[in-house]
Every structure is written in C-alpha cells, then in structure tokens.
C-alpha cells in the first residue's frame, strides 16, 4: 500500500508544479478578447496568432537571440576563468587563499540592486551599454564565484595521487589539466555549465538595465505587451511560454548527467 500512496503524493505534486505553466500555455493559445470574455480550462478555439506575431516581428524574436548570445558568452567566460582557479583552490595552499575564496562567495550574495547604478556608469564610461558583452560581464559577478565553488567541490573529489603520477610521468601542468584532469571532472563541468546557463538566463535586472535596444533580452521586451489598450495577456503568455523552451531543451539534454553530476560533487 505504501509505495502507492507515495506515487499518488508525487503525482499530485508534479501536477501542481505543471498547473501554472499549463495555464500560461492555455492563455497563449487564445486571443486577448477570448481570454477576457470567458474562463475555460482549455482553449476552445485554439489559435497560433500570438506566436505568429512573435516570430514575424524582428523586435520580438531578436530578444531571444540576444538572451542566448549573452548567456553563451557568460557561460564560456565563467567556465574558462573558474577552471584554473578552482584547481588552485582545491590543490594548493597560498597566501590569502581562504580569504579570496570567502570574498568570491560574498559576490554570489551581493544584491544585484546594489550594483545596478555603478554598473550602468562603469559600462557607459567604456561605451559598452547595449552590448551583449556588457550583460555577460555583469553576470560574471555571480556566476564566476558559483562556478569556482561548484568546480572546487568536484575537483577535491579527485585523489591528488593522480596529479602526482602524471607529473612524475612528465606531464606539464597545462597539458595534464587539459588532457587528463578536465575529462575526469566532465560531469562537474557539465553541472557547472548548467548552473551558469540557468542563472544567466533567468537574471533580468542587470540585463534590462544595461541594454537599450540592440541587446535587449526577451524578458524585458515582454513588458511591451502593456499598451494603451491595456495588457495583451495572450501575447504575454505566448512570449512567456517561449522563454521556457530553451531551458527545457537544456534540461532534456543533461537529464541523465544531472543526478550523477550532483551526486559526485560536494555540491
């Protein structure tokens, strides 16, 4: 009897988890007039008009492209600087190591709101406002510390004898690191990339403030559905549904590695 009760509880939870998302999907397949007139559990007269509007209007779909560009840049920067640093923290003792590690963590906790104005001024000075690189760099503030933190956990799980053996065999540090060490912790690299992607994709306060038109993320473009005639709920819902798609794709690709990756590290 007990496993059955457990399954029912779990099914109920997943149902509740999906319900708000389903509701948005429902809204996205209806016109605004239809939404405001009746409340139905499913679209009685489904229409793709909201999606067509998004895919045919460059100012809409460019938002998705912008978001993906800065997320990709950010993930690349975060991983490439965090990998050597995490190795240093997991293998060596050096002057100020603990302090630096703690200082990095504090940046993960820094409220975005604190950095908002200074960031705007800093990037204005360098003429970087409204570029993808500005948003990608701003997101480094919280993603680099997180990447170092997670990677350090994975690396510490690898016995140091492996490094020693490789050095005796005549490997140089860079060669050992790239050809031996990184393949050993690839699950950790995957999990870290997943987290960097996730936090850069969902963050909008910086992304919105640092961009005007050319690099504006989709989340900020969504606010345009508020027009003189009121909110266009259908269009807003369709844009929302589309923001879920890239994330869902990423999860689908990493689903088998996720549980393994989490379990391996100290994450």
């Amino acid at each position: 009897m007990k496993p059955k009760k457990r399954t029912i509880m779990l099914a109920l939870y997943f149902g509740l988890l999906l319900l708000p998302i389903y509701w948005m999907l429902n809204m996205s397949l209806r016109t605004n007039a239809d939404i405001l007139s009746v409340l139905t559990l499913y679209p009685t007269d489904p229409t793709l008009v909201n999606y067509i509007k998004i895919f045919t209007d460059a100012s809409w779909y460019s938002g998705y492209i912008n978001s993906m560009i800065y997320v990709a840049i950010n993930t690349t920067i975060s991983l490439s600087v965090a990998l050597p640093a995490a190795y240093a923290f997991s293998r060596y003792r050096f002057v100020g190591d603990k302090q630096i590690f703690f200082w990095l963590l504090t940046n993960r906790m820094a409220p975005a709101a604190v950095f908002l104005l200074p960031f705007f001024q800093l990037y204005s000075t360098f003429g970087l406002i409204d570029t993808h690189i500005a948003v990608a760099l701003a997101h480094c503030l919280f993603n680099v510390p997180l990447a170092v933190w997670i990677l350090e956990g994975f690396m510490s799980g690898i016995p140091r004898e492996i490094d020693e053996t490789a050095f005796i065999d005549g490997y140089s540090l860079p060669r050992f690191f790239i050809t031996v060490f990184i393949p050993l912790i690839r699950a950790g690299v995957g999990v870290t990339a997943f987290f960097c992607f996730m936090f850069s994709w969902v963050e909008l306060l910086f992304a919105r403030t640092l961009t005007v038109t050319d690099a504006k993320p989709i989340g900020a473009i969504m606010t345009r559905t508020i027009s003189a005639t009121g909110l266009d709920w259908g269009l807003m819902a369709a844009a929302g549904v589309l923001t879920i798609v890239p994330g869902a794709l990423v999860i689908w690709f990493v689903r088998n590695h996720m549980a393994k990756g989490f379990a391996l590290g100290r994450v």
Partner: protein, 290 residues
C-alpha cells in the same frame, strides 16, 4: 591529504580575481563614493560624511522592509526545506520516472524570474486566473492587488512553487550518493523508516542540504523580479522587500546618496550572514571528513 604550498597558484586565480574585481570592486567603490556625497548634478557635489548613513539607519521604511525580508526568508526556509526533503524521499530511484521527475522539477528553475511573476499573475488573477477564480467561487474573497495577506499568500505560493525543486534536486542527489550497503545494514537491524531517515539519510545529506539552505537563504534575501512583477511591492508597502525598496530609491527617486548608503548597509548585513554560513559550511565539511 595535505595541500601543496605554492604561491605560484596565485597565477591560476588571477583571471578570476581580475574579472570579479572589475565587476565587484570598482562598482563598489563608486557606491562608497556616492554614499558620502550630496550630488546635485554633473560636477556639483559636496562631501557630507556620514549624513546619509544616519538618515538611512533612522529610516523606518527601511526597518519595515528589513523585518519583512527576514520574515519572508524565514518562512521560505521553514516551508521549502522539509517539503523538499519529503519529495526527494518519495522520488523514484530507477526507470523512466527518474528522467521525467528531474525534467519536471528543473522546469521552474529555468524560467526567467520576471516570467515567473507573469505566470503567477495570470494564474492568480480573479478574472482570468484559474487559482484566483477558483478561490473566489468558493466564496472567499481573494485579490492580491488589494489585500496584503492575499499578496503574501500569493508570493509564498509562488516562491515555494519556484524554488522547492532546487531543494528536491540537491536532496535527491545526496540520497543517491548513499551506498546501498547502508540500507542493507539498516534492514538487518530492523530499523524503522524513521530511524533509517534520522540516522542514515539525514546525516549523509548534511552537505547538500547545507548548500540548499545557503542558496535558498541568499536568493530569497535578494528577491526582486518576481514580487516586482506580481505585486510591485504593494498593496501599500506590504511586499516591499529590501531590493525593491533600494531600486525604488536609486532608480525611481534618483536619491543617489541615501541609496548608496542603503546599499552599503544591505551589503554588510549580507556579508555578516554570509560569514556565519561560511563558518557553518566549513564545520560541516570537517565533520564529514572526521
């Protein structure tokens, strides 16, 4: 395993140091600069010393926002941690159910934060939302735009919906890492389900649960986009959390001095809490190795 002493390791940390210094230290210096000056316009500024700090510390709206913030984060942790562990324990251990569960769980985590607000706005509105109209049809007046209590209930529901999956994922990963022999030993000893949980699963999950607790505390303390979209900090100021109040000051009213002083106080509170958590985290790590 002793670590190797090597100060050359600094070169490996240097890229991280430079990139975080650019994105953290320089902006922070600007904030410090603002916090001690009164700025009228370009080139017109006077040094005011600790004036803004005194003003900010005496600001009762800040005190209110701070208590609200602690209440919010406290409730978040009290609900999400036990719920997350319970769900992780009920998760399937093999078969197609694992992939399905993981994908479903990760879905809310990958939705941009303002879209989370949008989803719940659409879901809970009395006119077009399933939840809102359902509650109203049951004869209970529910409107998060006018009642502070309803706004809080909506925010908590959203927060629990949004972030419990993270706790579940981490707890599940911790559970999966426990070797099968532990369970076999427990079975031989005739341990009850509760005893197995209390003496095997919970201690083994301590590491991942600490990280879940830390991440949940940090992020709930910094919450901005979701309540901004859903309630805008209202009705009144009932859901104005620290970040919302700060952005209101800095961007809305453009009170740079007070906003900068507020920023520094906010950051110091977080720094202090972070230090406490960091110590706890270190101790947990030591406990595991011993």
């Amino acid at each position: 395993m002793e670590k190797w002493d090597n100060n050359k390791a600094w070169f490996l940390v240097l890229p991280v140091f430079v990139i975080v210094a650019i994105s953290a230290i320089i902006p922070l210096m600007t904030v410090v600069n603002y916090s001690v000056q009164d700025i009228f316009g370009p080139g017109q500024r006077i040094f005011v010393g600790a004036e803004w700090f005194k003003e900010t510390l005496a600001d009762h709206r800040l005190h209110d926002a701070l208590w609200r913030q602690f209440l919010f984060s406290g409730m978040v942790l009290l609900i999400e941690m036990p719920l997350g562990i319970m769900i992780a324990l009920a998760m399937p251990k093999r078969g197609w159910g694992v992939s399905f569960s993981l994908v479903t769980l990760a879905l809310p985590l990958l939705i941009p934060w303002n879209v989370i607000g949008t989803i719940w706005l659409i879901f809970t509105r009395p006119d077009i939302g399933l939840f809102g109209s359902l509650i109203n049809n049951m004869g209970l007046a529910f409107d998060h735009t006018s009642s502070p209590l309803d706004a809080w209930i909506t925010l908590m529901l959203m927060e629990v919906w949004h972030w419990t999956p993270l706790v579940v994922l981490l707890a599940y990963a911790g559970l999966r890492a426990i070797p099968e022999v532990y369970y076999q030993a427990a079975k031989i000893d005739g341990a009850s389900a509760w005893a197995t949980f209390r003496y095997i699963q919970l201690p083994k999950m301590r590491g991942v649960l600490t990280i879940a607790l830390l991440l949940r505390f940090m992020d709930s303390f910094l919450i901005y986009a979701e309540p901004f979209v859903l309630t805008g900090g209202g009705p009144g100021n009932s859901t104005t959390f620290l970040s919302i109040y700060l952005v209101k000051l800095a961007v809305g009213q453009f009170d740079l001095g007070p906003a900068a002083a507020f920023s520094i106080i906010y950051f110091l509170i977080i720094l202090a809490l972070c230090f406490v958590f960091y110590q706890v985290l270190q101790n947990v790590g030591r406990g595991e190795k011993a």
